[in-house]
């Protein structure tokens, strides 16, 4: 099955990646083909699985205490650009 130009542009836009050449498109098509093998499995009557641990994977509930934050300086060290303790991003 061919991947159309519209689908390509849509995917590029969503994922912010660039399928610039035929090699990229070919790679993408092969990846989709590989993943499509999943459809060969019959899942009739089988509940989707969240984890192989099933019931043993318990969601931990945290108490409502303030234990983090107050590390503005540290966080802003990662920012390429900052303005008075705000992160800076492109417009819109």
């Amino acid at each position: 099955q061919k991947v159309s130009v519209e689908v390509l542009e849509h995917l590029e836009h969503l994922a912010l990646v660039d399928f610039r050449d035929a090699e990229g498109v070919e790679r993408l098509q092969k990846a989709i083909q590989f993943a499509d093998q999943l459809h060969e499995v019959n899942t009739d009557g089988v509940e989707p699985m969240d984890s192989v641990l099933e019931d043993r994977w318990c969601l931990y509930l945290r108490e409502d205490d303030v234990t983090e934050g107050n590390c503005t300086k540290e966080l802003l060290e990662n920012a390429r650009e900052k303005v008075e303790e705000y992160f800076v991003a492109p417009p819109g």
């Binding site: 849509h10 969503l14 912010l16 969240d50 984890s51 641990l53 994977w57 318990c58 969601l59 931990y60 509930l61 945290r62 108490e63 409502d64 205490d65 303030v66 234990t67 983090e68 934050g69 107050n70 590390c71 503005t72 966080l75 802003l76 990662n78 303005v83 008075e84 303790e85 705000y86 992160f87 800076v88 991003a89 492109p90 417009p91 819109g92």
Partner: protein, 463 residues
């Protein structure tokens, strides 16, 4: 011209009232220095994981129960992907597949024709309530072509309440939102102050002819108050009707309400339909809730949330409080609405009733007409009232004992309003407002008046 049926649904985001965020331990607070309430997880630094806050789950369960929902004993978390500067992870953790509560209802009341005396009760179905993360805040600096990002709000817990399109106009939507606000405030699950962004409402609006399928709907965002909610919805209904009557079509788009111009405008940045690529949140297992029957015996009970335990401890909801006020004090239903609509007014009323012999049915008039109008005129809350319940009760006692007239009482109240610390009795004496009780003295005064106006008396006797 065939009639149009407007259809209005609402998506309401209420910030959960909690000390810390939904999935991290940073503080929840309005107006703090930028990026000071941000943990490594909130900033989406690699290697961090979400840890669910118990209080947020309880808030959602309480709200679901108050809105007559079925609580899902197993609910799931998902990722909703989109790119925006204030969403550092590139996705929001929400509950798209199985939310925590579904299929509820909310009853609200409306006045017909603006007359408080005719109230009608309506119901709107609650489709679901889901837990999700709030995003940070973007400040657009168009002059320097940049966006400043503050992540203090990123990760704060939200309850999204989805109301089915059972409403037909701005007024109904406003009444439903107002009632939801009161319920949330009574429960304490959200402070629901729209001005501080704790309650955000998006409206879905469409119109169609009776008997025909629903029309294309638009989503209206950026509505910052209940007043603007009415305006935005009614404007959008009119806009759609005019567009269709002129042979145009309605686009399935997102529009923003411009409060200055009083109209809705298409929002930029919403090209085409968004593909959120929902996927299960791989770092969180299902959220399991219990009730009295299914309570596990071998678990640490800090890890267990019991729906029935929460249900038993729900406070009286506004509708129940109103009923009790009407039954206990013999006031009219519409009075009970006004009492609950002003923060602290019901308590003030009950306090006055306790301290005076005047019947509640008479007291209510003083509360709703005299006190409330003073407060409104001076933009004061009940808590800020210079006239305390004690002083008002004192005044009403003088009136009840017939020591002063009703007119004099209003004069005294006006004086009390100045907040100079005088008691009603002191003001009465100062301004000589005591009612004459002496029969003889009264006769003398009447005779003097008759004597002074002999001609008028003759005219009256002759008819």
């Amino acid at each position: 011209l065939a009639p149009w049926v407007p259809v209005v649904g609402l998506e309401i985001h209420a910030q959960i009232s909690s000390n810390s965020k939904l999935f991290s331990g940073s503080q929840v607070q309005f107006a703090a220095p930028p990026n000071s309430l941000v943990s490594f997880f909130d900033a989406s630094l690699p290697g961090t994981l979400p840890v669910l806050n118990r209080r947020c789950v309880e808030a959602a369960v309480m709200t679901g129960l108050a809105l007559n929902c079925s609580i899902n004993k197993k609910s799931l978390f998902d990722r909703k992907h989109y790119f925006y500067a204030d969403l550092p992870a590139g996705y929001q953790i929400t509950q798209q597949r199985v939310p925590i509560a579904v299929n509820g209802s909310l009853s609200y009341s409306l006045c017909i024709d603006n007359k408080m005396s005719q109230m009608v009760t309506k119901t709107v179905r609650i489709k679901q309530i889901q837990l999700e993360q709030d995003s940070g805040k973007s400040l657009h600096d168009d002059t320097r072509s940049q966006t400043l990002v503050d992540l203090n709000r990123a990760g704060v817990g939200l309850m999204e309440v989805v109301m089915e399109p059972d409403m037909c106009c701005g007024e109904e939507a406003a009444a439903a939102v107002r009632e939801l606000q009161l319920i949330l405030q009574t429960l304490g699950s959200s402070q629901a102050v729209m001005a501080e962004g704790q309650l955000r409402v998006d409206a879905n609006v469409s119109v169609h002819h009776p008997g025909e399928p629903y029309g294309v709907r638009t989503e209206v965002k950026n509505i910052n108050s209940i007043r603007f909610l009415v305006k935005a919805i009614d404007y959008e209904i009119q806009r759609q009707i005019e567009e269709l009557e002129n042979g145009g079509t309605i686009l399935n788009e997102t529009r923003a309400f411009d409060s200055k111009l009083g109209c809705t405008v298409p929002m930029r940045d919403k090209e085409g339909k968004q593909d959120y690529r929902f996927m299960p949140e791989p770092n969180l297992p299902p959220l399991i809730l219990y009730d009295a029957k299914s309570l596990p015996t071998n678990m640490n009970h800090q890890q267990v949330i019991n729906i029935d335990w929460i249900h038993e401890r729900l406070p009286d909801l506004p509708s129940v409080k109103r009923k009790k006020l009407v039954e206990q004090y013999g006031i009219l239903p519409e009075h009970s609405f006004t009492l609950l609509n002003e923060d602290g007014l019901a308590e003030f009323f009950e306090s006055v009733v306790k301290q005076t012999q005047m019947k509640p049915k008479k007291v209510i008039g003083w509360i709703l007409k005299d006190l409330l109008s003073y407060l409104k005129q001076h933009s004061l809350t009940v808590k800020e009232s210079p006239v305390s319940s004690f002083l008002l009760a004192d005044l009403l006692n003088l009136l009840e004992k017939k020591e002063i007239s009703s007119t004099a009482a209003k004069q005294v109240l006006a004086e009390l309003w100045k907040g100079e610390g005088k008691t009603p009795l002191e003001i009465v004496k100062e301004q000589k407002l005591e009612l004459l009780q002496d029969q003889k003295e009264l006769e003398q005064i009447c005779q003097a008046v008759i004597d002074g106006h002999k001609n008028e008396v003759i005219m009256m006797v002759l008819g």
